[in-house]
Symmetry: C2
């Protein structure tokens, strides 16, 4: 295995820095608009998407690739803030079923516009269609590589 080159190192650290900076900027925008953090948003979207079909917290955890414990903590805080509710699963008594509250839904609606617009204006608008495509491929290659190592 050859050594890491300067160019490779720059690409990696650049990717780290720029994603962090983007997250921060976008997070601030969404928080200002709706009082939701990006993680709140991540959690709420699948709950709404599930609609009437009961969504268990372990399913959600897997869907968004979170640790169960992390999700449990975060749901606790979100419940305190009145964004979601947890009820018992009708068939599996261990289970918790997740619901969004009215105010959670209102906040999510407030958030979604700014959320999407910030991705557009801060990220997508900076890149050409070719770059978007190249980046997608890079990401997929990295994911595949990671999965097999």
């Amino acid at each position: 295995m050859t050594r890491l080159t300067e160019a490779e190192e720059r690409a990696w650290s650049g990717m780290l820095n720029v994603t962090a900076a983007l997250r921060k900027r976008m997070g601030a925008i969404v928080y200002e608009a709706a009082g939701l953090s990006e993680t709140d948003y991540t959690v709420l979207v699948p709950i709404v998407y599930a609609g009437d079909t009961p969504l268990r917290s372990s399913e959600l955890a897997e869907a968004i690739n979170w640790d169960r414990s992390r999700l449990s903590h975060h749901l606790g805080r979100m419940e305190t803030r009145g964004l979601i509710r947890r009820t018992q699963h009708s068939e599996d008594n261990r289970g918790a079923v997740l619901h969004i509250t009215d105010s959670g839904l209102a906040a999510l609606r407030q958030a979604s516009g700014p959320h999407l617009r910030s991705i557009k204006s801060l990220f997508a608008d900076a890149l050409s269609a070719t770059q978007i495509e190249a980046l997608t491929e890079i990401v997929e290659d990295l994911e595949r590589h990671l999965a097999t190592h």
Copy 2:
């Protein structure tokens, strides 16, 4: 302004996910090898690099793009763990000058091999030279874009 496309959304969320996954994997490798987190590493490298020229904590904070308060907290923990020391600046009595300890240096030496190798094997080896170049350009475009918005 047009709306965010599917492709753009996928590129963005993919980038987020894959950088997070890579950080996690690399972090675990370095931690196992030397008991240092990636943030410890980030902090120690410039201290060593400064060598004998006194490095103030505000300078370090700026160099690594950290909040002063965050750095202060982290330095406190690192000092407790015996990785660094803080002494008074000889001319500016407000100042703190940073030093790495022997065991900090030893840990850093332990960490650097695995650190670089993990970037190579988990990131760089997955991509072609062309992709590295494309990614670098993407990152730079994003940074420029971010700087002017």
